[in-house]
Symmetry: C3
Subunit: 661 residues, 3 copies
């Protein structure tokens, strides 16, 4: 419980010295050190200060800011400033402005007003990155780099500029070689969408009605690649000029606009920006919880929502991620922005660590006194006094949070191709890739199980149970990998599994294509249920009500575990099992929890059903219990105050098999 | 009950052989024949296959597809492929792309990406139509033609291109002769909207706020005419090249964007595409039924909604319409897309026949394995196995559905001028032309009455009762026709009757203008009721709550049947009658049902009040009873299983006079 | 109670003789006189009749219309017709069309299709104004002028044309002198938004995400100034050509798009257009009343909503305003448009007078029989018969409404800078400047208190109680003025007071900046509460539930009156008082009412708590009691019929101190 300091959780803060008078800098640095912080993140968005006029650099202020921090022993994470191109660059090259799906140019005046497909913008991105990296790359206080900031924020990952269209056509030509191949892959015979010239191909989303999902899917892959190469150019320069420092990027929660695995390649680890109260409202439309439940979590966010993202971002590189921006007070971008509960900042920090975070930077040091984020809190108020989060950070003993590895035996598979293909045709209000995937994750967490969220093509040998909630896109290679996994692990699949080929088309011959053999079922029908309409499922003696989605199967030498009762699917299989493989076709939280509980039990994974709002997380041999509710909970002899954490002996956990369903 | 096969309902299917391997074609044709289908609809959207490059035709595949069908004795309905212009045409002539009301060009990538007002597009439409008709027009298997597909789909009937604006100005000049006449007709003195040059006239809908309803009304007439002439050019070519074959078009349910009577002129009969579960959700905003009622019909659609459209489309030409696309499984375009109930496909087919359909083509043979409609079902699944609808089609004995005429004594009047004028200024959330018209239709159907939906200028002599729910536009000629009708029939009018002249202006002198004498009332006030506010009406001893709309009248030598009680209209007439003419001013389902019941009774029309979800339809001397609910119903000694049909002896119907109101 | 006629309320009507046949004019004028009207408003929107072709004026019709009115002794208010530029002007100069925030040009076809920043449009505005004023400026019947009509209607106050952008840049340069000053004032170091060239500055609202509130705030000031100078040009011409006549403008209720104080400078008095049933629905999103309460007022509007606007518009110039358009039947622009209750027109007229109106013009004489407003009522119906409002106007004895001054001792401070700054970042769904300000006004009115709504920089010496609900923007000068006011008056402040400097930035040093000393509190935190989440406040023995907003303070030598209980603000001050200054941080109707009651009592202002829907208003020594509900109310011995008014002796009012809270 008392590791070497160097191996404990790093705390830091996002600071913008350029926003305040330099006379405050020394005091701020001293306070930061005294608060137990060990690093500051600097220079995000500061391009107009680094290069006030074209080619005219001003480093004096940043030199001083870094020296002041270093003087207090603080380390520095620097950011490439490309998320906020300066006005003079836009004036000289208005063609770098992004264009939205609606065809409107997005003007200067906030941030991310640039098209990553623009060769001109790319050139300036490389230039400012090199200038910055050359200046500070080898400074002893500088420990690492953040590339840009929140790629895709403000719906900017997909741009609709002439540059993007032309690059998309080139990308397609490189990928498909011939138009015949592209027309076949996209199924362009449908509605006479066949192309006879690469230059005919438009960007999707601007037609009379929805474009082909294959068109959309390839556009998402293309734009993801554009951002990945944009970042790779920066990383290459940073590696060149700043050896021995880490490179990371600060992603966002539940973000769909690019392949985060692709963008993490070449980074040392992934980071993300965690704003639990905001993310709670952002997913309101998913129908994952009743509105009154969402209100109950208004001041903490929901434990599984935050944990899910930690597990996603840890999984991108497979080890210790960072929280590059950690909410430490109220935010300013949700429809309403309630104050966090007392204890929430400590709760979030402890959870981040327990789910594998090695570093946590609070956003931000002092609340901004100007511009767009004036109503967003920091550790200090506008008047310089410590705000509510400050005291909570002060109370954190990082020694209690050693940087030991997270080792889990349960994997949940996650894949952006499947996400894009699923969400291009959700077919049911309230359903989408994230909602379906999260339902399985939440069920696992409610059973007290720790989860690795990994890519389906990753190494799956460490896992005893593999849950694939929504692997819509299935290739022969991926099917082979899953067949191999089933030789050592229990594998659970959700609805729409393997519905599509890599191209986004249905499998040749229908059904689950290359995965059909493993699943042991032939899909019969899927039922998309509007609000108010449910479909009963009987599993053993219990009945569960599927909502939003119900999928039925013809078993092929396969055991039927649950059957639909009543309705158009009456009597058909809802849950099947053949050996280690389980298929769940009905969307019901209780059914999913029950089936997963059985599978975990069969795999020898300890199951501990937990009350709502209470969660257990393990890192190494440390077991953290948290109560995210506003009430004191007594559980297995432990008293958990509202919004609090507790370390317990893992052995003390009573492993209760879930109610047999 | 066993007519000659040639005089029984024709069943067919929409097939897209170009979507699958030709090796499957012979088996498909054999299966189609064995299923009892007698025709296939082919070549819809197949322009890029017919003419892969400008002027370079490829007929080989279609030759073979037709021969394969013919070899099994199947007849063929061919489509002009103009709903999906190929990419090369758009590349060569980008000006043919449609522009939306928001000024944005709608790009290539789905379908209907063309402006029917474009002379260039028109030229290519004629060219491909002639090439196709010359090739197949006299093929013995080809029995008829579908022009284009679903005119106006994707909000494309109204385009805002320079070509459309220029053509609109020319059309206005031809219609009005002088600007003085146009300025007077539109009332352009209002807000200084007077024009002094034809070139000043803009397209409506792009101004600071709403344009004049007269401006909008003429724009709807103009665009309707553009589509009508677009189609007429195709029909002329088809008549020329393909004598003896029918020409039809597949319209859509509750579609407002053009005058369907105008577009039916020159066709042999009208067709429509019936998707009962989708149409149910599409009219959700009309407030015609409570949300929980809509959920109850989620798997069948509502009987009156589907029947209403059958009666509209039969009425366009006055005889046997076709269902050119009949839902036979779940669709993919509603917010949620539930599976149809068991029995629904048979139920829909029987209803279509009972309401006068001579042909029904299921959409589609095999579910598409690619592109936009992958999640839309067909008779076969992706994997080629028969889907749920297949067995229902197999069970249909078409001999039970002879093609005898539908003869009704009750007419409901329907007119697109009134629709456009009404909906340009609905004045009350939840009210529109369709909702008001449907309320009267539903009341008639709930009384067991069969209805012809006809144009007000049609021959009304066959009818004993004529219901005109929403004839907002009234000309002297139309008034004379209604006066003549009242000499032999009972006539019932709803609110807003005759509110406007042909120009969309209020009647000169106010009130009902030329119809005032017939109505026998002077309108006092109309009340537009927000949700939660109702207005009581007393009719005899009963009280009814008007919602959404209440209109009061000063009777002129006219009997007052119902009076408003309380509220601003207290004591004023809500329902009046003078001789054969009844005026209903209050929007209340129970009031409408009661008054109509009385009128029907007085006219000697048999009235059979029916339980919710149960409906009776007559064709010739065949009486079909249907239960559209999920429960078994026992009614007048007949046991009706859920979602089922039954033929009964008409004599067995107990004609119950409705509760006297 | 029987003043000279010349000193009684003037009634008039908006008439559009050009909409009807001149043969009707003499009868109309006679009827108007007989109805007791003394003036008509003419020529609004009539540009195309005044100048049918460029430079070709036609005055004959207007000459006659004025003579016909004058012949019956009616006075005339003329309007400059610039709210509806004619088609020939738009054709010749399409660049005068406004452009919306979405970048789309707003076309001809309704009204207000012009950019007030366009030099070309300005030139034509001056030209037609001079021609009209020269023609009629000295006509003896003409008593005054209305400039234009409803500036900003249809979201046209802010235009996004190249002319507007260029003028904005020029305006900024004049205001700030240097880009350094502008960059500092806006805080442009944030997100690298610093400008190095004036030409770089875009219009706000078209960027990737929200622009800086300072950017928005200056844009609102700029566009307000554009309209003010546009109007000033007209007023200068009117003064020149039409001496001795008044100049006014007809504003709209709760309108935010410009500074109404700025636009009233140079006018003789302000007018506004009062549509009580419409305004009720327009504020639906504010969450100021439950939906069922809104339904209860559907036929009258809410008394405080209408009174609030009367008090705003009286306060613009500090004396007798006019209602230039008074609803006298159902309107046509709300989602639903219920008929007014019987008595509502008389009720509204009496209230207008009691709140200081000197003139009321009903809108409109006869309902329009054409174009956009056909479904909007007038005093006469389409058929020329008197509509429901006519009889009510007939019953009004204007002698009972003498034009004595309104003298109040309670002021409510209102300021458009604060409005814009607040609404640029509302931070909580349902909260905005108007909703917060209105909550305080409503509380005062529910206590039977009459209120002057005045600008914070106005003369505050007449007041014993000053309520400043939402003075977000605070300058040193304004703070000094409030400190001076506190020497003679009790002053009450609401949440967010003094949060920002004039630039829209937070105060230097945070907190309330220059007002901190007077408030005696240091702000700790604000809590933004989503629907369903409340925050308890204890005040004495009572508990109140704050909703939407809760703000906590650290008192500095200041008494804490109320404290938060539970939640993140537990134990912190919610209401404080130091001497004459009270600060209320929690948004709770009952709390606000209670605290204000105490303050009024302490200030010696008579307090009379009133039942919902019943209100008392005083003008001079006349006390008017009104019942706005649909039920008869007995109160203090007075019987008030539904929707009715009563004069009482002020002495008979029982001044009840509100429940001590």
């Amino acid at each position: 419980m008392s590791p070497e300091p160097s191996s404990a959780l790093l705390l830091g803060v996002c600071d913008y010295p350029e926003h305040v008078s330099p006379t405050l800098w020394p005091d701020f640095a001293r306070q930061q050190r005294e608060l137990g912080l060990s690093f500051v993140r600097l220079a995000e968005f500061a391009w107009s200060r680094m290069e006030p006029r074209p080619g005219e650099y001003d480093w004096a202020w940043l030199d001083e800011a870094i020296e002041v921090a270093a003087a207090e022993g603080l380390k520095v994470v620097l950011c490439t400033p490309t998320a906020a191109p300066p006005a003079w660059l836009v004036q000289a090259h208005p063609e770098i402005l992004p264009v939205g799906r609606d065809g409107r140019v997005k003007a200067f005046g906030s941030r991310r007003h640039s098209d990553p497909a623009s060769p001109v913008f790319r050139e300036h991105s490389r230039r400012i990155t090199r200038a910055l990296a050359e200046r500070y790359g080898q400074h002893p206080a500088v420990i690492g780099w953040q590339t840009d900031n929140e790629f895709g924020w403000g719906d900017t990952a997909q741009t609709y500029t002439p540059a993007a269209r032309s690059a998309f056509q080139t990308w397609l030509q490189a990928r498909y070689g011939t138009l015949d191949a592209l027309n076949a892959a996209w199924g362009n015979v449908f509605w006479s969408m066949e192309y006879s010239d690469w230059a005919q191909i438009p960007l999707p989303g601007q037609a009379v009605a929805a474009c082909s999902p294959s068109h959309t899917l390839d556009f998402m892959r293309f734009t993801s690649g554009v951002l990945a190469s944009f970042q790779a150019e920066q990383v290459e320069i940073l590696r060149d000029c700043s050896p021995g420092r880490f490179a990371t990027h600060n992603f966002m929660g539940f973000f769909s606009a690019y392949d985060h695995y692709e963008l993490s390649r070449g980074l040392d680890f992934a980071s993300w920006d965690s704003y639990p109260t905001g993310t709670l409202t952002a997913i309101g439309e998913w129908q994952v919880m009743e509105p009154e439940v969402a209100v109950a979590y208004a001041r903490t966010g929901h434990p599984d929502i935050t944990a899910f993202n930690h597990d996603v971002y840890r999984g991108l590189t497979g080890h210790g991620h960072w929280i590059m921006e950690q909410q430490c007070g109220q935010i300013d971008w949700a429809p309403s922005n309630p104050l966090p509960a007392a204890g929430a900042v400590a709760l979030w920090t402890a959870q981040a660590w327990a789910h594998g975070a090695d570093g946590v930077a609070y956003f931000r040091w002092q609340a901004a006194t100007m511009a767009q984020e004036q109503l967003h809190s920091g550790l200090l108020r506008h008047d310089g006094t410590p705000d509510r989060g400050y005291a909570e950070v002060q109370g954190i003993d990082t020694a209690a949070y050693p940087l030991v590895p997270v080792v889990n035996r349960v994997a949940l598979l996650h894949d952006y191709d499947s996400l894009w293909a699923y969400n291009a045709q959700p077919h049911a209000v309230g359903m989408n890739y994230w909602a379906q995937t999260f339902a399985y994750y939440r069920a696992l967490r409610s059973l007290g199980v720790d989860v690795d969220i990994v890519h389906p093509d990753a190494d799956l040998t460490p896992y005893a149970v593999i849950v694939a909630p929504a692997l819509t896109v299935m290739t022969p290679e991926r099917a082979a990998q899953l067949e191999a996994a089933a030789t050592h692990a229990h594998v659970v699949f959700g609805p729409r599994t393997a519905l599509r080929q890599h191209s986004g088309r249905a499998q040749d011959g229908g059904g689950a294509g290359p995965l059909a053999g493993l699943l042991g079922v032939r899909p019969l029908n899927f039922d998309s249920l509007p609000a108010g309409l449910t479909q009963d499922v009987t599993l053993g003696g219990s009945t569960h009500a599927a909502r939003l989605w119900a999928e039925a199967y013809a078993p092929q030498d396969t055991q039927v575990l649950a059957t639909y009762a009543g309705g158009p699917l009456d009597g058909h299989a809802a849950v099947t099992r053949r050996g280690p493989v389980t298929v769940i076709g009905a969307h019901s939280d209780t059914l999913i929890q029950g089936v997963l509980g059985d599978v975990l039990h069969a795999a020898g994974i300890e199951v501990t059903p937990l009350p709502e709002g209470m969660r257990v997380s393990r890192r190494g041999d440390h077991t953290l219990v948290q109560n995210w509710t506003a009430e004191t909970v007594t559980w297995q002899g432990h008293v958990l105050l509202p919004v609090s954490s507790l370390f317990i002996e893992t052995a003390s956990l009573l492993a209760t098999p879930p109610e047999r369903v």
